[in-house]
């Protein structure tokens, strides 16, 4: 009898020996019997096991309660069947890598230990199962829900990457849902460090690392990996959440691997109708076979996913939309007009259209309209925004947030163009050349007003939809802004004990924060920093259980003959006081996050009675990721700035938070935030939750003026006017041209000087009048910024006048010289005088580069802040 081919164990993958009874893998039979019976509750070391949460890559995860503290944890126990020195090493490394990531979207690791000879990782319990469970239970998820979940995953992965960890095994069953609905990444069983040189790339022979259906081609090939491998897995995860099956499938792992290397996954849109084409493109880009074709980093991926999440984009403010329109008309007007004149000698003037009515003129007009249509269709269809909209921070979206797509954009811009030319078209069909000459021109001009009919449908409730918006189901919306926390630089703490002090429990002492009471130490097994605080009074169970980003977690207690130490997480960072050294204060952009963190933490701590009785600035710790953490005890070395406030009541809590808010540089605080801060200063919030809500809403508003908007605010009107002037001059030249002769200016100077004139007449002078009357210009409202003084208050008239004079003096001088000297110009100084505009243009560039404070703002003692 010839031996039959050994089959593989479905559980461990090893070949089943020919003589194995019942064709069952004997090793798994033994290992299965070694596992303690799955009866709950039962004891394991210092824990009471309450149930099985799941089987991770390397063992079983139990829900457990720490007997001594009653804290609920997840306990990951290395499986017997996997117990080998190599697996042990990998298992403990998992703990170490995961412990390096402390982020609200990553499961927190409390520690590692050995119980009954088996390595165990103690972790935070998420409580809501995994995304894989959710998928099994409910089937494919709604688009926005899936995207929201994955955005959380991306945040967690970003933090992991910042901590130097590549996850390498992202899939729905490794994404854990917490009780508040947020999603946390876990199971760092296959992760590697991108930093530690000694962290070798551990692979068992013949062991496939990763889950083939979710692993990138380079991972399956065993090549070197970077963040883009995890991005691939994120794409596969979105795909699975939306369709219920992974992008790459096969009957066995070999088929899956072959398909993952060769085959292109099916397009999401083919599998599910309601998946936006834009999202399908994002996922397809994540799943690109070559890493360089994927998103380069998490910031880019996040920005791409954001429009498809549940956060609905805000409708574009009308002012910005109007300016975007100006800019687009400038682009669509000047380019074809110049081209038509330069190449064909056509003057695109209404008069010619009506008087000549030649096919050539009609064709030119049709060409212009076609250009307008194509310009919008292409830019908005392909990129989601025309140049003007992009510059104004706007984009096009369908009602569900998707990009419009080429076809829809084409229909939309055709309707738009039709309305824009409707009046003219009607006139062209009804008015003869003679009638036009005899006063019909006025009618034609007036007929252009028909275009405004299209705007009659705009209502707040329909997202300010015009006729073409309604017809195509599209809207113009604000491009979502990322309110990313600015990270801070942290000097690495001393790595080892400087004093040669005895270790306390498993922790080696690094430094004493407060002698004999507060010690900065290092957990060598997990390679992370901890704080040890000598216990003077028992910690409340509530404090031990705190698992909020605004508070450092309690890890365990350690008994020494001399004292009991409570061990806390010590997130890398600095005390807030260290950031206050230097001038002015903190920028609002950072401080607003910290203020919100602290307010949320104070509100939560007040509820579960874990708030220290007194708080001051020295109780605030800022982590390297830019999160504020409330310390239980003041960081030592306060110099009087950290005055303590009793926070037993609401007034005290507001006083403490106001103390933090007051550290903002006043001239960086936007006007919209001043209202909230003033109320805080007055202690007028009736509940802390109201304050938290107000501060949260501030996070979604701009914290500073960005370059793009500043450029738009400086250039939109001048560009439009220049287009207008250029068209005038071109028209004049086409008609035989008398402007140059009349003004006495050389041809080359006509456009710049006329533009200056129009700028002065249409912009600068009206601006001065309005400024002096209202202390603000309409442009500031449209672009959403305000001019403030050093104290953060809206700048006074005198200051605004100075600022205006600085801004306009140079062009005024040039214009005055050229305009007044005119024909009497000696030696062509006209042209040279234009050189005087160079510093002005340079100042303009500087104002764009430093949007919060251009040269004219600086010299007049002003700052620009969002309104």
């Amino acid at each position: 009898m010839s031996p039959s081919k050994p089959s593989a164990c479905p559980r461990c993958g090893a070949a089943i020996p020919a003589r194995a009874a019942e064709e069952l893998c004997p090793a798994c039979l033994l290992a299965g019997a070694l596992e303690a019976p799955d009866e709950f509750p039962r004891e394991l070391g210092g824990y009471r096991l309450l149930g099985v949460l799941g089987g991770g890559g390397m063992g079983t995860v139990y829900e457990a309660e720490q007997t001594a503290t009653a804290r609920r944890v997840a306990l990951k126990v290395l499986g017997h069947e996997l117990d080998s020195p190599e697996m042990r090493q990998r298992f403990l490394r998992e703990g170490r890598l995961a412990a390096g990531v402390s982020h609200p979207n990553s499961l927190y690791v409390f520690g590692t230990e050995e119980i009954e000879g088996r390595p165990v990782i103690t972790m935070e319990i998420a409580g809501g199962g995994t995304l894989g469970d959710r998928l099994k239970k409910r089937g494919p998820l709604p688009v926005a829900e899936a995207v929201d979940a994955v955005l959380d995953v991306v945040s967690g992965l970003k933090a992991a990457h910042a901590a130097g960890v590549l996850h390498r095994d992202i899939k729905p069953s490794n994404c854990f849902v917490s009780s508040d609905g947020s999603v946390k990444i876990g199971d760092f069983g296959l992760s590697v460090s991108t930093l530690a040189q000694d962290d070798s790339y551990l692979t068992g022979t013949g062991v496939i690392l990763g889950t083939p259906a979710f692993a990138s081609p380079e991972q399956l090939r065993g090549r070197e990996l970077d963040v883009r491998a995890d991005i691939y897995s994120v794409g596969a995860t979105v795909f699975t959440l939306l369709t219920g099956k992974p992008p790459i499938a096969g009957r066995n792992p070999v088929e899956v691997v072959a398909a993952a290397l060769e085959e292109r996954p099916q397009a999401l849109t083919e599998l599910r109708d309601d998946v936006p084409a834009g999202l399908a493109q994002v996922v397809a880009r994540c799943l690109a076979k070559r890493p360089e074709q994927r998103y380069p980093d998490y910031a880019a991926l996040r920005a791409a996913l954001l429009p498809f999440g549940s956060t609905r984009p805000e409708p574009a403010p009308l002012g910005r939309r109007l300016f975007a329109g100006f800019m687009d008309v400038a682009v669509c007007g000047i380019i074809p007009a110049v081209a038509a004149y330069a190449f064909f000698g056509f003057d695109l003037d209404d008069g010619l259209l009506f008087t000549e009515r030649s096919p050539a003129v009609i064709a030119a007009w049709a060409g212009l309209a076609a250009f307008f249509v194509l310009y919008h269709a292409l830019f908005e269809g392909l990129f989601g925004a025309s140049l003007g909209k992009a510059l104004m921070g706007l984009r096009m979206a369908r009602a569900d947030g998707r990009a419009p797509g080429l076809g829809r954009a084409l229909v939309r811009s055709s309707i738009n163009t039709l309305f824009g030319n409707l009046g003219k078209l009607l006139c062209f069909l009804t008015i003869t050349a003679e009638q036009y000459a005899a006063g019909g021109a006025v009618v034609v001009g007036a007929s252009n007003l028909v275009a405004f009919l299209a705007y009659a449908t705009m209502r707040r409730r329909n997202g300010f939809a015009t006729v073409w918006d309604l017809a195509t189901g599209t809207r113009v919306v604000l491009r979502p802004k990322r309110a990313a926390r600015p990270a801070i630089d942290v000097v690495a703490p001393p790595a080892a004990s400087a004093s040669g002090a005895e270790p306390i429990g498993p922790y080696s002492v690094a430094a004493e924060v407060v002698p004999a009471r507060w010690i900065s130490a290092r957990d060598d097994a997990l390679r992370r920093r901890v704080w040890l605080r000598r216990r003077t009074s028992e910690l409340t169970p509530a404090r031990r259980d705190v698992a909020r980003p605004g508070r450092n977690r309690w890890l365990q207690s350690v008994e020494t003959p001399a004292a009991t130490w409570d061990v806390f997480e010590a997130p890398p960072g600095v005390p807030l006081r260290d950031l206050l050294r230097g001038d002015g204060g903190l920028s609002w952009e950072s401080l607003r996050h910290w203020l919100h963190d602290l307010a949320a933490e104070v509100a939560s701590a007040a509820k579960d009675r874990t708030l220290p009785p007194e708080l001051g600035l020295d109780h605030v710790w800022i982590t390297a990721e830019g999160r504020a953490v409330l310390l239980d005890e003041a960081w030592p070395g306060g110099d009087g700035r950290g005055e303590l406030v009793a926070v037993a009541d609401l007034a005290g809590r507001q006083r403490f938070l106001h103390g933090v808010a007051a550290r903002a540089h006043p001239a960086t605080v936007p006007l919209h935030a001043r209202v909230v801060l003033d109320s805080l200063a007055a202690g007028s919030f009736e509940k802390l939750s109201f304050l938290v809500g107000s501060l949260r809403s501030l996070l979604s508003k701009p914290a500073r003026l960005d370059r793009q908007l500043r450029a738009a605010s400086l250039l939109a009107v001048p560009l439009f006017l220049m287009t207008f002037v250029s068209l005038l001059v071109i028209g004049d030249r086409a008609g035989g041209g008398s402007m140059s002769a009349e003004s006495g200016l050389p041809e080359v100077l006509l456009i710049p000087i006329l533009t200056l004139f129009v700028l002065g007449a249409c912009l600068a002078l009206p601006q001065l009048v309005v400024l002096l009357a209202l202390r603000a210009t309409p442009g500031q409202f449209v672009f959403g910024f305000a001019v403030v003084d050093a104290a953060g208050a809206p700048a006074g008239r005198a200051r605004l006048l100075v600022r205006w004079l600085i801004a306009w003096s140079l062009p005024a001088a040039v214009f005055a010289y050229c305009g007044w000297v005119g024909e009497a110009d000696l030696g062509g100084l006209h042209s040279l005088s234009l050189l005087a505009l160079l510093p002005w243009l340079f100042g303009l560039a500087l104002a764009v580069l430093r949007p919060a404070r251009g040269p004219h703002d600086r010299w007049s003692g002003c700052w620009l802040v969002p309104r």
Binding site: M1, P3, C9, P10, R11, A14, A15, P17, A18, R19, A20, A21, E22, L24, C25, P26, A27, C28, L29, L30, A31, G32, A33, L34, E35, P37, D38, H80, E81, D83, S84
Partner: protein, 250 residues
């Protein structure tokens, strides 16, 4: 061959190997010990036979040697040299066989030629069946022996579980669910439908089968160690032996 008593909720206090290892010189004790040893030897003859094959002996010769070894160990009170400190039947048996092969095999072979002992009925097996049972040759014969030992322990517990199921008229259920004993999860809905069980009842059935196998396997292994607290350690050792290497067929 008698099976060990089925473990009850209280487990065992005296195992077969502890009887052997702690045998006192009085006749009653020796008789009990001999019976216990005989049982064990019958159960675990194959790993020893395989070990002899690993050492390079032909199939027929290995059968003869194994027979002789058992005869000698049991008939000649070989267990008197058992060291309770070593704790395990497996290690004792291997040590004794090595000693036997080094010093006494030629004498034993002469005795065999006299045809006096047929301890294990190898002849009852068809030559083809024996061929199929040929062990793979491992790099390390000791490890190979442990591996065969582990296979035998798990198989014996499985045999008992099957017998129990058959007695209870649940043969079909055993067939359908035995795969779960390795920790694998069955296709719940399909299996439940096939067995005519509700999902809850299936879960309970899987749980019970696993529980029972765990008891039987532990009981089996407990028979070969002197101290019941060594059971887990022995099991771990056997898992390691199984995970160690695969060997090549002879």
């Amino acid at each position: 061959m008698t099976d060990p008593p089925a473990p009850g909720p209280h487990g065992f206090t005296t195992t077969r190997w502890s009887l052997v290892a702690a045998a006192r010189p009085d006749e009653a004790s020796r008789t009990r010990a001999r019976a216990a040893l005989e049982d064990l030897c019958r159960a675990y003859w194959y790993p020893l036979y395989a070990f002899v094959r690993y050492r390079g002996h032909g199939s027929q010769e290995a059968q003869d040697l194994t027979q002789s070894f058992f005869a000698r160990v049991i008939e000649k009170d070989g267990f008197a040299s058992a060291d309770p400190g070593r704790g395990r039947f497996r290690t004792y048996l291997l040590g004794a066989m090595k000693h036997f092969l080094a010093n006494e095999w030629h004498r034993a072979r002469a005795q065999k030629r006299g045809g006096e002992v047929r301890f294990v009925e190898l002849g009852a097996l068809e030559p083809d069946a024996l061929d199929a049972l040929e062990p793979a040759r491992p790099a390390d014969p000791d490890a190979g022996f442990d591996r065969e030992w582990a296979l035998r322990s798990t198989a014996r517990a499985l045999e008992r579980l099957r017998e129990e199921s058959e007695r209870a008229g649940q043969e079909e259920r055993f067939e359908a669910l035995k795969g779960c004993l390795t920790g694998a999860e069955p296709d719940r809905s399909e299996t439940a439908a096939r067995l005519g069980l509700t999902a809850g009842a299936l879960k309970v059935a899987v749980h019970r089968l696993r529980q029972r196998y765990r008891e039987l396997l532990r009981a089996e292994i407990a028979q070969t160690v002197a101290d019941p607290s060594d059971v887990e350690d022995e099991m771990r050792h056997l898992v390691d032996a199984l995970r160690g290497e695969t060997g090549t067929r002879l």
